[in-house]
């Protein structure tokens, strides 16, 4: 157990104390204790920056299941460190924010922080594990903690719906990913990501290459809310706002991006990889921004905007793969895509985090997030307004904020397709800058909407549930820090270049680094009159025009009927599969015990007969059989006839007597077989059984008078004959195959020496196999207890009629 492992598990180890702190220290908000964890971790991980920026990595291993190749290997390189810092850094700010957001007297903070800490550990585990199986385990843990956090206000129906939706979609993706992981392991014989990267040529030649890639991508796309799986993210907004800011914009949804970046060295030689990721990402970017414009809920806008921005980063990671094929110039122009992806990932965390917290503040202080009710808050909430403007403009891609820089790099990367002469990038690829442009226009519109509709325009304070006022200072600290980062990174983007971005990009291109290509990260504000600058100007002009004329084109959103939307399809599938499952279940779960027994019997016989046929066991040989005396024939006939006669008995008394006949017949057989103990026991038991049967029979007086007609059932008869035949064949088989000597030789030899007894059966029962007998007694004891309880304790309140019946019985007794 190294310090690194401890750091990953620290939140999980701290979690059990939280409920006690919540119960025990009511006067202090539990969040203050929780805050210590991410603060400690962020300082710890910051200590790795010098190591990774020098190009080194840190590896620590704990053997977990070495025989299966599963070890908890923690691996810190540029990429994982960047994510670890995001997780702990944003985590600290979110916990601080939540202290003011969640009321310590009204909310069950114990649950909330336990889930949050669980998530933190899980997420750190995802980005710091080298072993794919361990990574998968943490990956699913993030899904579970996300489920719990979305459903935190579980009394709300929408919360439960959102939680279930996110769970179903992300776990579906996670399972697909597990399939991909197993396929990859079967190709190279190791679960380690580093081994996979080192053997990427082996993987590329495998016939399952494409399948594995698509399965892994399904995991990434569901987690990162890519089209068409993005539908869970808007519904996840039912979670408390700190959770939305943390899980559903800054960290968890970026796990998919991490996975794509991490697996890039394994897959990125393939054109399918580039096109799938770039295509899906680009379309998601457009679709998210297009849908964000029609939202009326502040968090709804932010959710779709997150979908869109994740798509943007995803498409950049896809385009970045082109860097491996490009050898036109000294300066590898496609590397800019990956640099932009990493840079935008950081920027998105800052501006979207601050915007979410802003939305939370507005919700907290006014009681609503509906932009149709909000407006004119600028005067009462000046600080929140400033934060909103900074965040929104950065998201829209305007200078001088960090969003502008990464957005320009994004547009630059898309325009570079013209100079690529592979994978049809210079033909169909032309769509990429077009979609990017359209998506950016919608991004601009919703970003402007976000602060104008909330803070500007006519004030309608009388419509608000609460009287609005500025948030307490503590609530403003976290968004203010993030907003400062937005501005700061805008002016000094290169502080991150060599410390965080370069090492992260280098871990995406291990082959290029090995070839000696320099990853050159220089982010400029002004880079001349380039195509991307004109695109930005075009975005601003067209976006402003459309925003101004919004009323005229909003009608297009109502064109798609609900049934055909993705959400409609999801709901439809859920309802349909529920119904289908019930219908299928009702087919065989009839509620009749007879049906279930028939399944068991038919399956048993079927399996038996099939195995007899499959393993050629139907040639029986009968040697060394015991001779048979004439009186034994008679006895056998009596037993068989007795049993058969029971079937045709209409009333109960004769069938009980016939059962007794069969039982005594079996006891006589035991005598002939040289088993006196058995015969004695059987005689006693049979007598008691028959007495019991008669006693119960006596207590069911009404029924005895009724002659219930027992119709002959052909179906039952067929099953009965089938099972009977099977058992006889089974017995024949046992006679045929006597390949092993009986273990009872040991008992025969030692019965006197070891146990000083002469009756072997008795010695076996009480001595050699004493535990069998002990548990036999236990079974009898349980049966006795059961019988006693059934007779003595009656919980059902009886109606008048039944009470009389009872009384009648008692008098008869």
């Amino acid at each position: 157990m190294s310090l690194l492992h401890l750091a990953i598990l620290l939140p999980l180890l701290a979690a059990p104390f939280i409920p006690f702190l919540f119960r025990g220290m009511k006067q202090i908000h539990t969040g203050w204790f929780v805050l210590i964890v991410p603060v400690v971790l962020v300082t710890y991980f910051a200590g790795f920056i010098p190591i990774t920026s020098a190009g080194d990595v840190v590896t620590e291993t704990i053997a977990w299941m070495p025989s299966l190749g599963i070890n908890f290997t923690a691996y810190v390189d540029g990429l994982s460190l960047l994510f670890a810092l995001l997780i702990t850094g944003i985590g600290a700010l979110v916990v601080l924010y939540s202290i003011y957001y969640l009321n310590k007297d009204k909310e069950s903070l114990g649950h909330f922080y336990v889930y949050l800490l669980m998530f933190m550990s899980a997420m750190l585990g995802v980005v710091l594990s080298d072993n794919m199986i361990v990574m998968y385990m943490f990956w699913e843990l993030t899904s579970i903690s996300s489920f719990l956090l979305i459903g935190y206000w579980y009394e709300k129906e929408r919360s439960r719906y959102g939680a279930q939706k996110s769970m179903l979609l992300t776990v579906f993706g996670g399972l697909s990913m597990l399939g991909g992981i197993v396929l990859l392991e079967s190709m190279i014989g190791s679960y380690s990501i580093r081994d996979m990267i080192a053997n990427s040529d082996v993987i590329a030649e495998s016939p399952f290459f494409l399948v594995a890639m698509i399965l892994i991508l399904l995991g990434a796309f569901t987690k990162s809310a890519q089209f068409p799986f993005h539908i869970w993210l808007p519904d996840a907004m039912e979670a408390p706002t700190p959770v939305s800011a943390y899980l559903h914009s800054a960290t968890m949804v970026k796990a998919g991006l991490y996975l794509v970046a991490r697996m890039s060295p394994v897959f990125q030689e393939s054109s399918v990889w580039l096109w799938t990721i770039a295509g899906v990402g680009m379309f998601t970017m457009f679709w998210g921004s297009f849908n964000a414009v029609k939202q009326t809920d502040l968090k709804g806008i932010l959710a779709f905007s997150t979908v869109s921005q994740l798509g943007l980063i995803m498409s950049l990671l896809g385009l970045g793969a082109a860097a491996l094929h490009y050898d036109g110039m000294d300066d590898n122009i496609f590397m800019v895509a990956t640099i932009a992806a990493i840079f935008h990932l950081i920027n998105h965390a800052t501006f979207k985090g601050s915007l979410f917290m802003m939305a939370g503040i507005v919700d907290h202080e006014t009681g609503t997030r509906d932009i149709r009710k909000l407006g004119g808050l600028m005067t009462v909430m000046p600080i929140t307004f400033t934060i909103a403007v900074i965040g929104s403009l950065s998201m829209a891609g305007l200078p001088p904020f960090n969003g502008f820089l990464s957005k320009e790099m994004f547009l630059k990367a898309t325009t570079k397709v013209f100079s690529a002469d592979f994978f049809a990038l210079d033909t169909i690829g032309i769509l990429l800058p077009v979609i990017a442009f359209v998506g950016s226009v919608f991004t601009f519109i919703y970003s402007i909407m976000l602060f104008t509709r909330t803070f500007m325009g006519k004030a309608k304070f009388d419509q608000l549930p609460k009287k609005p006022h500025e948030a307490p200072i503590g609530m403003l600290i976290s968004p203010a820090i993030l907003a400062l980062l937005v501005v700061g990174l805008g002016f000094f983007p290169n502080v991150l270049s060599n410390s965080l971005i370069k090492p992260a990009v280098e871990s995406i291109y291990p082959t290029l680094v090995a070839q000696g290509q320099e990853v050159d990260v220089h982010i400029y504000f002004w880079h001349g009159l380039t195509p991307e600058l004109f695109m930005t100007i075009g975005v601003v002009l067209l976006g402003s025009l459309l925003f101004w004329q919004m009323g005229k084109w909003m009608g297009i959103y109502n064109r798609i009927p609900h049934r055909l939307t993705l959400n409609g399809m999801y709901d439809g599938t859920l309802v349909w599969s529920n119904k289908a499952a019930y219908r299928f279940k009702d087919n065989y779960m009839t509620g009749f015990i007879r049906s279930y027994l028939i399944y068991i019997f038919v399956f048993l016989s079927g399996m038996m007969l099939f195995s007899i046929w499959w393993f050629d066991m139907y040639q029986f040989s009968f040697e060394n059989l015991a001779e048979i005396a004439p009186y034994e024939y008679v006895l056998g006939a009596v037993v068989m006839l007795g049993a058969l006669a029971i079937l045709f008995m209409k009333s109960r008394l004769p069938s009980i007597i016939l059962l007794g006949v069969v039982g005594y017949g079996v006891a006589l057989f035991f005598v002939f077989f040289g088993a006196p103990d058995l015969a004695l026991t059987q005689l006693v038991i049979e007598t008691v059984s028959v007495a019991l049967f008669l006693l119960v029979f006596y207590h069911m007086p009404d029924i005895s008078k009724k002659e219930v007609r027992m119709r002959f059932k052909v179906g039952n008869a067929i099953v009965a004959v089938l099972v009977g035949t099977t058992v006889t064949l089974l017995s024949f088989m046992a006679l045929t195959n006597k390949s092993l000597t009986s273990i009872s030789e040991y008992y025969k030899e030692n019965v006197y020496e070891l146990a000083a007894g002469k009756n072997m059966v008795n010695v076996v029962l009480v001595d050699f196999r004493g535990f069998d007998t002990l548990f036999e007694i236990v079974v009898l004891g349980i049966a006795a207890f059961g019988i006693y309880t059934m007779i003595k304790f009656r919980t059902t309140r009886r109606t008048k009629g039944e009470g009389e019946h009872e009384a009648k019985q008692q008098t008869r007794q």
Partner: protein
């Protein structure tokens, strides 16, 4: 002998299955009792019948029947008695509560969803 007993076992099992599949609770219990008879005979038969004297040490006897199946069956007889007794009281109580011993009438009509 073994073949004959195997056929007896088959017939007993057949009757047991047919009874267990019927509607009357009492017939079902009789069926399980027949089942246990069949199973006991099966265990004894597969070990081989009449391979020697009863497994009790007596001077001058060296060939015994196999004691182990007998021990197993002895346990089984007692347990099957326990099960039968439990079953019977269950049937009795069911009859008291529901005034029927017909399994098809006992089936709940509502589906649980």
């Amino acid at each position: 002998m073994e073949i004959f007993v195997s056929i007896i076992i088959g017939v007993l099992t057949m009757c047991a299955v047919y009874l267990v599949l019927s509607r009357s609770l009492l017939r079902i219990i009789i069926g399980t009792a027949l089942f246990s008879h069949a199973a006991h005979l099966l265990v004894l038969t597969t070990a081989g019948l009449k391979t020697g004297a009863a497994p009790v040490l007596v001077d001058g006897v060296t060939e015994f029947t196999d004691p182990l199946p007998q021990a197993l069956v002895l346990t089984a007889i007692v347990i099957s008695f326990g099960v039968t007794a439990f079953f019977l009281v269950l049937a009795y109580r069911t009859y008291q509560e529901l005034s029927t011993d017909n399994m098809e009438e006992m089936k709940g009509t509502e589906s649980y969803d």
